[in-house]
């Protein structure tokens, strides 16, 4: 018998597989497909202070081995998520959930984290710093050491829950940014959010998505994710949640060898609603194939020797 359980920020997960924010709604919709309690955890749709409709449609474009989305953080706002979505979720999910929080100013992040702090269903807060920092010229929070440090410090002050900062891969130096999060007191790092990408329709000769560019994810980006997890693992002591292109148990193991303590599955859920379930079920088989007894033992394994 192999052991697929892992520890993440002091929480024992029955397995490392976590549906990624934005690809699993607020969870209960997937209970039509399977008992979502089999999941390690899941990260709910990016939630902001105010309700947001998000970007105009079309919001989706297809690419080779991946897709672009420009959903633009559509969500009903943190208050409604707490008053309506979490109670609905409670009925079908009895594990700690990951609350994915977004904002356009430090105050917005703080506001959401303060409210979430009281939700006992939430085990970890995942702070997505890829949104444009409206107070500082629109470059995202996640692209400067200074602003990730500030955001991390600020949210850590208002919550006792573990805070994981989710970083954008669209940066020159992911290692320094991850270190700034650690310095700010982060309890973990989520890597990676989507790559900035664009698809142009040859028929209309215009970008496919109305917002012109969007977040590129899917199997195509896995090598970038592996590289970033590997580099950050060497620089920080806090755990890393790896993601980007995971669509099978092999990819989970690859990211864990690079240094991930747990792994999120994003776009794969959209193509196959059973993706996360199938990955969990395949893990023991693939572990046996590669002589792995316990997933806990392989975290960062690619760095030895």
């Amino acid at each position: 018998m192999v052991d697929i359980s892992v520890m993440l920020c002091g929480i024992e997960l029955s397995n490392p597989v976590i549906p990624a924010s934005g690809t699993f709604g607020y969870g209960y919709e997937f209970r039509e497909f399977y008992d979502i309690n089999i999941l390690g955890s899941f990260s709910f749709k990016g939630t902001t202070k105010e309700p947001r409709f998000g970007n105009p449609t079309p919001r989706i474009a297809e690419c080779t081995a991946g897709m672009i989305n420009s959903v633009g953080l559509q969500n009903p706002g943190i208050e409604k998520v707490i008053s309506e979505e979490l109670p609905k979720l409670k009925e079908c999910f009895n594990k700690p959930v990951i609350a994915n929080i977004s904002g356009f100013s430090v105050e917005e992040f703080v506001y959401c984290c303060e409210l979430i702090d009281n939700c006992e269903q939430v085990g970890i807060i995942e702070v997505n710093v890829s949104c444009p920092n409206v107070k500082h010229g629109g470059m995202s929070f996640g692209t400067s050491e200074k602003s990730v440090f500030e955001v991390t410090k600020a949210v850590k002050k208002v919550t006792t829950k573990p805070v994981v900062i989710k970083l954008s891969p669209n940066v020159t130096d992911i290692v320094s940014i991850a270190k700034a999060c650690e310095d700010g007191g982060a309890d973990g790092i989520s890597l990676i959010n989507t790559l900035l990408g664009m698809k142009i329709d040859l028929k209309t000769k215009k970008p496919v998505v109305a917002n012109k560019m969007g977040g590129f994810s899917g199997p195509a980006i896995l090598p970038v994710a592996v590289r970033m997890v590997y580099s950050v693992y060497e620089a920080v002591k806090i755990p890393i949640i790896g993601m980007g292109g995971v669509s099978r148990a092999e990819d989970v193991i690859e990211l864990m060898l690079a240094g991930a303590a747990a792994v999120q599955v994003g776009a794969a859920n959209l193509i196959n609603p059973y993706a996360a379930k199938e990955i969990i079920e395949d893990l023991p088989k693939v572990m046996n194939k590669y002589g792995i007894k316990s997933l806990k033992d392989i975290i960062g394994g690619a760095h030895n020797g």
């Binding site: 919709e29 039509e32 449609t57 079309p58 919001r59 474009a61 897709m67 989305n69 609603p273």
Partner: protein
């Protein structure tokens, strides 16, 4: 919703660039006309949403147009190949509101879902009239099939190469009165129908989709009743809620 492997029992050209495909497999998750399926095509990352044209206990008929690489590839598939499909997506048309003499208006590949709808309405004892519009004669399909159901069917072609010249709305004066309408087709057509038809009615919309089952928020639209997902609370919206 069910996910399964469906078998192609036929895949044949029925008009210019238009194919009819029959798939065998589990149809237990289908209930309404106007629902759709989402097809995984080898070599393409996203699934392709296609309306159900007809179904029975163990088969589904769809009609699709080859507009891009995915549908081109689909048209090359042989009988007995298998396809991974999500079935039973979307809300579909509600036949209860139809009144006694509903009008169905379809344009191009908006026509297929109306076939199952016409069948259902006629089964419910209603008197159904249909307007189906195409670009030109060689693209016309299913006129015979609608007539065979007992629906009085009017055809328009944009270039006048067959029956009434013009758009579907140019045939409205031919159909007389109707109690309600159902429509599916390209957005400009839907808009014209919205402006021309005075009864209440239902509209089936298209949108680029990430998942097709409500998970990604890729297909959202604003309505007077709040934000809806075309794939989940749609594709069918009520006339009164639509914001163009």
């Amino acid at each position: 919703m069910t996910k399964g492997l469906y078998n192609i029992s036929h895949n044949k050209k029925i008009a210019k660039d238009i194919y009819e495909m029959k798939l065998t497999g589990d149809t237990s998750s289908l209930s309404q006309p106007g629902q759709f399926i989402n097809i995984l095509i080898d070599g393409f990352y996203l699934r392709r949403p296609i309306s159900v044209c007809d179904y029975d206990k163990n088969s589904i008929t769809i009609i699709y147009k080859t507009v891009g690489e995915g549908t081109e590839y689909l048209s090359t598939l042989k009988e007995n190949s298998g396809l991974d499909i999500l079935v039973g997506l979307g809300n579909g048309f509600d036949t209860k509101k139809s009144g006694g003499s509903p009008l169905l208006i379809g344009g191009g590949v908006g026509v297929p879902p109306l076939y199952m709808l016409a069948k259902r309405l006629i089964d419910e004892g209603k008197s159904v009239k249909v307007i189906i519009g195409f670009n030109s004669k060689d693209e016309v399909f299913y006129e015979k099939e609608f007539n065979a159901l007992g629906a009085k069917t009017f055809v328009t072609t944009a270039d006048g190469s067959y029956k009434t010249r013009g758009f579907v709305t140019d045939a409205l004066h031919l159909v007389g009165t109707y109690s309600y309408f159902y429509t599916c087709g390209p957005k400009p057509m839907l808009k014209a129908v919205y402006n021309s038809c005075e009864t209440e009615g239902q509209f089936s919309f298209e949108e680029r989709m990430g998942c097709g089952f409500g998970a990604c928020m890729g297909c959202s639209c604003k309505t007077k009743y709040g934000d809806k997902r075309i794939c989940k609370e749609g594709p069918v919206l009520q006339k009164e809620e639509i914001i163009w």
